[in-house]
Symmetry: C2
Subunit: 352 residues, 2 copies
Amino acid sequence: MKPVGIAAVGLGRWANVLADAYTRSEKVKLISCFSRTPEKREKFAERYNCEFDISLEAMLAREDIEMIIVTVPNDQHADVIEQCARAGKNVFVEKPISVSVEHAKRIDAVVEETGIKFLCGHSSRRLGALRKIKEMIDSKEIGEVSVIEAVFSNERGLELKKGNWRGDPVKTPAGPLTQLGIHQLDNLQFLLGPVKKVFNFGKPMYTEVDNITVNTTVLEFENGKQAYLGTNWACPGVFSINVYGTKANLFYQLDFSWWSNSDVTDEHSTLIKREFATMTDDPDNRMLRDVAVEFPVIDHLRVQVEEVADAIRNDGTTEISAEASLMNLAVVLAAVKSAQEDRVVAIQEIIG
Amino acid sequence: MKPVGIAAVGLGRWANVLADAYTRSEKVKLISCFSRTPEKREKFAERYNCEFDISLEAMLAREDIEMIIVTVPNDQHADVIEQCARAGKNVFVEKPISVSVEHAKRIDAVVEETGIKFLCGHSSRRLGALRKIKEMIDSKEIGEVSVIEAVFSNERGLELKKGNWRGDPVKTPAGPLTQLGIHQLDNLQFLLGPVKKVFNFGKPMYTEVDNITVNTTVLEFENGKQAYLGTNWACPGVFSINVYGTKANLFYQLDFSWWSNSDVTDEHSTLIKREFATMTDDPDNRMLRDVAVEFPVIDHLRVQVEEVADAIRNDGTTEISAEASLMNLAVVLAAVKSAQEDRVVAIQEIIG
């Protein structure tokens, strides 16, 4: 397969983390990059041994570029993606798809209209452990699931300065819920289907910015199952998923130190299955046991970009539609509304 | 110290688990027992080598009995405790203090009026690990706490038959929330102070009884901190507490297999502290490390009964007042109301 020519637009910290991953792939070839700041594009081009363009228009006019990796600020996703799509370029965009339903709907519409291949980077469901959890739920190896608890938190809010986009409630609704939680919302909807209703006690804590930095959120799904999502910018990094089944529970912990080293993230994770070692009529004489579960190591940041490349070469589809990414965002926005109005919010209210 | 003469009233399964614990103590001496069912009192008396009485009145008239261990059904606590208190007997009652605020207030009032020593069995906060967690929060060794997550769940709902008191929403409001969750609510209020507001998605799942068996509950405290409480009767046993602090997180897991063997529960538990191993300006180059935390082994079911004995001999107080136990119950009832009415409920609405 001829590598798909790609270019990076928006060259902040995460553009580098992604490039570290996709430049390990033989399915794509990084050709160019663009940022409005000349120093940024020169530095990125030098670091990854690629060209740079001096405008987005110039980049989109090139025939050797088939896919754009979009890591501009979240509130600029819609404008940039519309421009890329109308130029016939396929798009990978970092999560969240956008920070407003209106923008997400514009993206969904332009993807539909132009027929480009599109993927939003909910990389976490690509992890080997997540694939294993999904398989164990679907096969009913752990019985029927009642509840999943998911946490994705780190210390970001403690060091945020006023003026940073992460501290802006419009650019980053509910802070860690948009930046981290969206991964777990994608995982939860991947595992349990669509969310129906949300309640959230989110608010600012231990930060100087005027944005929610700590959220305790509960979710009810269309199929009646329940979940808890904890997203917090006031503690050392945590990424965990607990699944409660009628036959067994699963406890998954990922060492957040290795989150950005996507080739080894799975190697620094543990998945434990808790089951009955002995089952007796007397509940005081039942013994539990914890067993380690094996799972494949998957480079979560690389494979998502490769999936778009495969879809381009084989005219295939990508696993996560723009609409599914919109539904992940909708849960975030429902949780924000819930915290603001101190009431349960239905997803239907958000997507209209 | 002369052992305090005690007697057990209500001789179901838990009366035996408690007796296994307090008969290891030299501070109390089991003298008699009573159940309305003759076979039960004869069997208990034989097993624990004590006398039995043929009526509660006869037992309460005895001068050699100073404390009554009350494990009658939850909705009979108030009547039995009033009878004991008016006979001048001190009382240890198993949690929950009652299943209605009215009953809990009656208990609080009669304890106040008669001046008896009283304790409700929220044994879990007695565990060595809980004492260590409290110390690490209060000393700010883990920085400022934003969120605590607590789970206490087991498989009880899967095997409940219609007619069992655990399946009755009046006798056991929200099932595992009353029976298991009340321990964690006591722990949470022990660690963070009084709860202010509650939301709960609780409902029946995977059971034949008409009672809530799965709850995902979030709490806001008077001091602004937040918590999640998961209580579920549809999975293998779990007892866990996660504390998120600005400097470190704590992860506590107790092996539920050993819950009823209260002398070794702490030996089958782990407490992990997660902190930064390296702190740099670059968030992608920070490393986390997990460190095991030591804690004392405490027989949680024994020490609570001994505390009442000490209070009797030294005219001291017990750690948990009847009013504090009422506040634990109030959170349960707020969570039930929240699930019924699909809205956030303030504790003030419940206690009036």
